[in-house]
């Protein structure tokens, strides 16, 4: 005899109802407390597949383990390393955002970014020459995610680029990301004009070493604490990094001053990071990546460990299915455009920055960032709805990332592909929009609707390998 059984018969029950509305009505007529479920059938008639996953004796515990690992993360910025050392790239090898892609299938901004990277690495003297190398098929391309890295937009990483190293102190793993170039004509949006390459050279020669010197002064910088504060200050840390970048400047300037950097370089460095309110994005992304990687490869787990786009495909990876990518064509984000740009100028969705949503930030904490809803074409209530609807597709709540307007409720975290399929609700994603012509840069910002197919394909794959109850 358990307490639960005794309690059941101790008094009138409070009843959760799902299904026939008649029974809600009869309970209401009896003045019983009810919580009705707004129930719908799962998408694609996936009931038996979903049942197989839910019945797998490993799944429940595996998902709880995944959630514990993700939320226990302690990301710290520990240094700057070249891509050559950090992710083991050699000349001619490049990382890119999203699931695997070939030059042939790459979109405009992805090709543009690769052209920029080839010019920067000295592999070609002109964009045309770089394009010929790309078209020849000789480039070795791999997803950032395959090397413990993430990259915003095109996410192209070449061997000489400096990268932030972010260590997860709770698990000892490290994630990497390049340094943010600012807005306008930049490599990550596919621009390869001379000024782009000049800036990359300056970042390699001046910015990278200065940043490394600064962080060595303090040993490391607690990024989780900074993210917690930034959420309370109105950032969702994907499309709005204003507070986080300001907080970062506040943390990094004193050690920069102490690091003995040449005064004219120092002024350039401070002016550069202070003038770029997305500077922190390239620290937030590896923080999320470092938090999610320990949740990979847990047998039976249906938790998403990466969502990423390469400008052609939208892909996800799921803990219980290893390194396999589930992909579908990327869609054009729905949002507002800068200047004269319009939807016709937009490239399909691109970038690893959806690692933020995967880690329970970004679109998942929209309710904390009502200031950006206009920027992505919505109203304040939409921000609340976005966050609240994400609780129905996630395993749990983040104990540290709290949303003030929801009474400091923890952010929804640990996307469960089975819940996505059951509720027909895809993750809410904020994003920047890249121009589709290489070199255009950012043309807008908005919301992305990830393709349901990647989640249903993952459900089918998990069901195939599910253990019987």
């Amino acid at each position: 005899m358990t307490d639960a059984l005794a309690e059941l018969l101790a008094g009138p029950p409070r009843v959760v109802t799902a299904g026939v509305e008649l029974f809600e009505t009869t309970l209401r007529d009896q003045a019983v407390d009810i919580v009705p479920v707004d129930w719908r059938p799962p998408v694609d008639g996936l009931s038996s597949e979903l049942a197989a996953i839910v019945a797998d004796p490993r799944t429940d515990a595996a998902n709880r383990t995944a959630l514990e690992r993700i939320t226990a993360a302690e990301p710290r910025w520990v240094g700057i390393t070249t891509a050559r050392d950090a992710v083991g790239l050699d000349t001619g090898q490049f990382l890119h955002a999203g699931p695997p892609i070939t030059w042939e299938r790459a979109s405009g901004p992805m090709r543009g970014a690769l052209i920029a990277a080839m010019l920067y690495e000295g592999m070609a003297d002109t964009p045309e020459a770089a394009e010929r190398i790309g078209a020849s098929g000789s480039l070795e391309l791999a997803p950032c995610h395959s090397r413990g890295a993430v990259g915003p937009m095109a996410g192209v990483v070449s061997p000489s680029m400096p990268m932030f190293a972010v260590e997860n102190a709770a698990f000892g793993n490290t994630a990497y990301c390049t340094l943010n170039e600012g807005l306008g004509k930049v490599l990550r949006y596919g621009a390869y004009a001379p000024e782009v390459i000049e800036r990359l050279n300056w970042m390699q020669a001046v910015l990278g070493p200065a940043m490394d010197a600064a962080v060595q002064q303090v040993g490391s910088l607690d990024l989780r604490a900074l993210i917690i504060q930034a959420i309370q200050m109105g950032d969702e840390l994907h499309n709005r990094n204003r507070a986080a970048s300001a907080l970062f400047v506040r943390e990094v300037v004193p050690p920069l001053l102490e690091a003995g950097i040449d005064p004219s370089d120092l002024a350039d460095v401070v002016r550069f990071i202070n003038g770029n309110e997305h500077f922190f994005l390239n620290l937030g992304m590896p923080s999320a990546k470092a938090a999610l990687d320990p949740a990979r490869d847990i047998p039976g787990s249906s938790v998403v460990v990466a969502m990423a786009r390469n400008g052609t495909d939208f892909g996800i990876q799921v803990s219980g299915t290893g390194d396999r990518w589930f992909t579908a064509p990327a869609t054009v984000p729905d949002g507002l455009y800068l200047g004269d740009y319009g939807a016709d100028d937009a490239n399909p969705d691109i970038g690893d920055s959806t690692i933020m949503e995967t880690g329970g930030i970004g679109g998942f904490v929209m309710a904390a960032a009502p200031a950006i809803v206009r920027f992505v074409g919505g109203q304040a209530a939409d921000a609340l709805d976005a966050t609240r609807s994400m609780y129905s597709i996630t395993i749990g709540e983040h104990p540290h990332f709290q949303v003030p307007i929801l009474e400091f409720r923890g952010s929804p975290v640990g996307i469960d592909v089975t819940r996505v399929a059951r509720t027909d609700t895809v993750p809410a994603v904020n994003t920047g929009i890249a121009g589709k012509v290489a070199g255009t840069g950012q043309v807008g910002a908005g919301l992305v609707t990830p393709p349901m197919q990647v989640f249903t394909d993952a459900v089918r794959a998990l069901a195939e390998s599910a253990h019987p109850a």
Binding site: L9, P13, R14, A18, G19, P41, A55, R388
Partner: protein, 495 residues
């Protein structure tokens, strides 16, 4: 004729609500056919069967098909549709600024609060929601039928591991501390706890006990398969344990069809270790009928055994020569009980729930001789509302049977209580009257006997229902077995 066909992508309502919506639309003047349903394979087949064009739609889409005499009728039908849909979605609170979206799964609802989840989704989806409930620490009542057997076994094992109760699948009735779940009658509180593998059986027993002044502590439904060998009475054991520990329960009744021998032996051994006495109500040919079980229980409690109430005059044998007994039931157990009584007296009776495959009716459900039908059987209700909720299926059948000159006795059940039709007599009485008038006009006898499963406290008003039925010419009894016996008596041909 004008056909209107449209698909509403992503719109959803449960099948019971949509059948009622379909009926409202079908009742609009000038409308000859209406089907508003989720585009499941089954419903798309129905649509094709009605001669509508094919539509490209899936189970997550709502399809609206209306056939009417002219465009005006279609317009009126669509207006009625909108009104009916709006009325049926009255339960879901509209979300304003700052309101949380309604929970989409049982897990999310359980996070808001709850002790028990009442799940009545289509059977193939029910397991997911039930597991959500158990993992959130909620007990489960699974009304849904057609849940795969392996899922039932897994659910009951998980429930036992977690110290929770999983009732069902196919659990139609439960009462917990006076709260009726699913279909349940309004009964007074008291010392008798019931574990039931039969929904209408439990309803009938509680009504009989209530009538004798014996109150009910709880009714825990376990579903019709619980005592089969594969499930092994897993739900029954949990329910027995719960009732045994319940301080208000002094006597437990276990109500079921005769279980598999090994399961029966194991359950008897299990009940022997309980501190609360257990009465077995096994609904089989050599066992007491439900009225007999009620009598045993009343005697054990020490109450006076009542005469079960009746209304109207019992039919007397009229010596009109042989004829047919036709039973049209909404409750499965009520039908099978009547079948046992009828076969003992009259010999073979055709039925869709007959244990004997030779006598079991399938598709057409018609037979030349005696016939007793459970019109609430799954196969018969596909795409149509259950006769406990909507009498239309029976009204059609009553008219058809009354037209047969050989039909001598019409035996019906009427189930009252929460969930049942709000005023069944209002629909049945005119049909009964018309049937009797037709027989009289053709100078033959047609007896109508109604087994009325209800209590004086049921929202439909038992006395009012009985009076309306008697006024139409029926003889009404509270005891279902007595109703069947009265039917048999009326069939007797003088030697």
């Amino acid at each position: 004729m004008v056909d209107h066909l449209d698909v509403r992508r992503g719109a959803y309502a449960d099948s019971v609500s949509l059948m009622q919506v379909s009926r409202r639309v079908g009742d609009v003047d000038g409308v000859t056919n209406a089907l508003i349903a989720m585009a499941t394979e089954l419903n798309l087949d129905l649509l094709a069967g009605m001669g509508f064009d094919q539509v490209d739609a899936g189970p997550g889409d709502m399809v609206v098909a209306v056939r009417a005499g002219d465009d005006d009728a279609v317009t009126a039908a669509l207006a009625e549709l909108e009104a009916a849909l709006a009325a049926s979605s009255g339960g879901a609170a509209s979300a304003g600024f700052g309101d949380a979206p309604p929970p989409r799964t049982v897990r999310d609802a359980a996070a808001i609060g709850g002790d028990l989840a009442l799940i009545s989704t289509p059977g193939e989806h029910a397991y997911l929601e039930a597991v959500d409930a158990l993992r959130a620490g909620l007990h489960v009542m699974l009304f849904s039928d057609n849940v795969p057997l392996d899922q039932e076994i897994a659910l009951k094992a998980e429930a036992a591991d977690r110290g929770l109760l999983a009732m069902g699948p196919d659990a139609g009735t439960a009462i917990i501390s006076g709260v009726g779940l699913g279909f349940a009658n309004v009964v007074a509180p008291g010392p008798v706890g019931i574990v039931a593998a039969s929904g209408t059986g439990a309803q009938h027993l509680t009504c009989l006990l209530d009538d004798a002044g014996v109150g009910i502590s709880h009714v825990l439904g376990v579903g019709g398969r619980d005592l089969k060998a594969e499930v092994g009475g897993a739900g029954t054991r949990q329910a027995l344990v719960a009732l045994d520990a319940d301080p208000t329960t002094e006597l437990i009744v276990l109500l079921s069809k005769p279980p598999a021998e090994a399961v029966a032996a194991a359950i008897r051994e299990f009940t022997g270790e309980l501190s609360t006495p257990v009465v077995f109500g096994l609904l089989g040919p050599t066992e007491d009928d439900l009225s007999g079980v009620a009598t045993t229980v009343i005697e054990r409690i020490g109450g006076p055994v009542p005469t079960w109430p009746t209304w109207g005059e019992p039919p007397v044998p009229d010596g009109a020569g042989p004829g047919r007994l036709v039973g049209l039931f909404s409750g499965g157990t009520l039908c099978s009980e009547a079948l046992l009584v009828a076969e003992a007296a009259l010999g073979p009776v055709a039925s869709n729930i007959s244990a004997d495959p030779e006598r079991r009716l399938t598709d057409e459900l018609t037979a030349d001789g005696h016939v007793l039908l459970d019109l609430g059987e799954d196969e018969h209700t596909r795409g149509r509302p259950h006769p406990m909720i909507d009498q239309r299926l029976r009204l059609e059948r009553i008219a058809a049977e009354a037209a047969d000159p050989d039909t001598r006795v019409l035996l019906l059940d009427v189930v009252l209580g929460h969930g049942a039709h709000a005023d069944p007599a209002a629909e049945l009485a005119p049909a009964i009257r018309a049937a009797r008038e037709r027989a009289r006009a053709e100078e033959r006898m047609l007896h109508v006997i109604v087994s009325l499963c209800g209590t004086g406290s049921d929202p439909q008003g038992r006395d009012r229902q009985a009076a309306a039925l008697v006024d139409a010419g029926a003889y009404v009894t509270v005891s279902n077995a007595d109703a069947a016996r009265a039917a048999v008596t009326a069939m007797e041909v003088p030697a």
